[in-house]
């Protein structure tokens, strides 16, 4: 047992696992980071952009050497009807970038290499099949080849976290609490990307897409610009596919054909198609994240703020806090649930849990009102502009009144009131309590 024993084992070398392992290694403790893929990032998918500030908390100088694609200077919100669209755009080229687009196969791999330089022992191509539990405490992991023991095991094994499930820290997810996301990456020349998205050099643009092929479904689309490719995808909650008799890639194909979207990826050569789950349950679905000898971080702990498209930052910060707690526990030699509960307390004090709590009612309300918020109003926004720009000999006053009558006629007063109260309830819970 002694030769296969270390101080901390972290399962999963994504942003959460790496952040955690680095923190522990920097304090001079022994930590083994186990990754099931060929290399870190090889099983990881996101939109995606990483956020500068939280990444600096783990790797202060990452902007100098990390494989970054573009710094995001433009955010566009595309509200799509069946055939038309309204796009709101915010551009800021003055301030330091908030986020950078990255490709996880490169970026996570870079982070893992940095972690190795700081003393983390990285073990790749190894699947942890089971946790070893003794006297109700987690004491190690079973891989395909051998058993490893540790004082603390950190579960950073992603959204599916079979390990957290094995020891009863979490229930199986419900279909409404998880989205399946599909993404396609298209190769395009840099100049073409810059022209199409109105960018200079290494500037990037993010599209957040509402409606279109997902009208009335709980789902959103995205586009991110990379150096010489464009990533496009969407995420839709699992319960929608059976209901709408459609498949994830069919929705994406339809979105790609939308007149607002199609020109952006025209003539691009498909480099890769991928899929991943996104935890969407929010605050109410956060599992038990601490047990004797074990902590759960990142997607495995369901830490995603879907309203703000944040995930990797919550992963990194939760990993960092779990790492700090591990260091404290190692100093004390106390790996009990009580001792590791420091992680939960610190996480609750941080923006991570505070933000998820702020949006705790969001998903429930959207589920109830998706016909309004993800279909009716999106369509009305586009119909408004269709009316507003029309030049057809009809007097403007009549056009306006027709629009207003239509707005009320197609949605009963009762439903409109329900929508209104839903918004009030959400705003109250977001802003006040």
């Amino acid at each position: 047992m002694s030769e296969n024993k270390t101080e901390v084992i972290v399962v999963g070398a994504g942003p959460a696992g790496i952040a955690c392992a680095v923190k522990i290694a920097r304090s001079g403790h022994k930590v083994i980071l186990i990754e099931r893929g060929k290399f870190s990032g090889s099983k990881n998918i996101f939109g995606g952009a990483i956020y500068a500030q939280p990444t600096r908390e783990i790797f202060p100088d990452f902007e100098k050497t990390a494989p970054l694609e573009r710094k995001n200077v433009e955010h566009k919100y595309a509200i799509l009807g069946e055939y038309d669209g309204t796009v709101v755009s915010y551009t800021n080229k003055h301030e330091l970038p908030v986020s950078y687009t990255v490709l996880r196969g490169k970026f996570d791999r870079w982070m893992a290499e940095e972690a190795k330089k700081e003393g983390v022992i990285l073990v790749e191509e190894t699947v942890v099949r089971e946790l070893i539990v003794k006297d109700e405490a987690v004491v190690g992991v079973k891989t395909e080849l051998e058993d490893y023991y540790a004082d603390i095991v950190v579960l950073a094994d992603g959204v599916n976290s079979l390990l957290a499930k094995q020891i009863g820290l979490r229930e199986d997810l419900e279909t409404k609490d998880v989205a399946v996301s599909v993404k396609e990456v298209f190769k395009l020349p840099k100049e073409k990307i810059n022209d199409r998205f109105h960018l200079n050099d290494d500037e990037g643009c993010i599209y957040e897409i509402f409606g279109g092929s997902m009208l009335g479904m709980l789902g959103l689309g995205f586009i991110y610009t990379n150096k010489e490719s464009v990533s496009i995808g969407l995420g839709v909650t699992l319960d929608e596919f059976e209901k709408h008799k459609t498949k994830p890639y069919e929705l994406l194909d339809k979105l790609k054909q939308h007149p607002v979207i199609a020109p952006l990826i025209k003539d691009g050569e498909l480099l890769e198609y991928s899929a991943h789950l996104i935890p969407e349950g929010g605050y109410k679905k956060i599992p038990t994240i601490v047990g004797a000898g074990v902590m759960v971080v990142g997607d495995a702990a369901m830490l995603v703020n879907n309203f703000h498209w944040e995930g990797t930052n919550l992963a990194m910060i939760s990993g960092k806090l779990a790492g700090e707690t591990a260091v404290v526990a190692l100093a004390k030699g106390d790996f009990s649930e009580n001792s590791l509960d420091r992680y939960r307390i610190e996480l609750e004090k941080s923006f991570v849990i505070k933000d998820l709590k702020t949006y705790r009612n969001l998903m429930d309300e959207i589920h109830l009102r998706k016909e309004s918020f993800l279909k009716y109003y999106l369509e009305r926004i586009n119909m408004f502009f269709e009316m507003f720009i029309s030049v057809n000999g009809v007097p403007k006053r009549k056009l306006f009144w027709d629009f207003i009558k239509n707005f009320i006629k197609n949605r009963s007063i009762k439903e409109l009131f329900k929508d209104f109260f839903s918004v009030v309830k959400l705003l109250w819970s977001i802003l006040i309590k």
Binding site: G41, K43, N44, V182, E184, N226, F241, T246, E272, L277
Partner: protein
């Protein structure tokens, strides 16, 4: 572009045995067969003539959607071996 063409762009190292094992007896009684809708790689196909769920596990993107969506909770689902399965470069 067909799904087959999309999948052809992905780097796979398929295992010889499946890491996805549905309980075929339960599948026979399953009305909705949600696995045939949610899977982004169309791994599951119901073969009417044989009364059997075909599992093209070598196309699996390892997302886990089928495991959660299955109403019968009858898919024995595990990650492929460490050296097998999908490798994404542009995730």
């Amino acid at each position: 572009m067909s799904l087959e063409d999309k999948l052809s762009k992905i780097k796979y190292e398929p295992d010889t045995v499946s890491h996805l094992r549905p309980d075929q007896e339960k599948c026979k009684t399953c009305k909705k067969k949600i696995c045939t809708y949610v899977c982004p790689a169309n791994v599951y196909e119901w073969i009417e003539d044989e009364d059997k769920l075909l599992v093209k596990f070598e196309n699996c993107l390892e997302c886990g959607a089928c495991r959660i969506a299955c109403e019968k909770k009858c898919i024995e689902w595990e990650y492929p071996k460490g050296t097998k399965g999908v490798t994404f470069k542009n995730g």
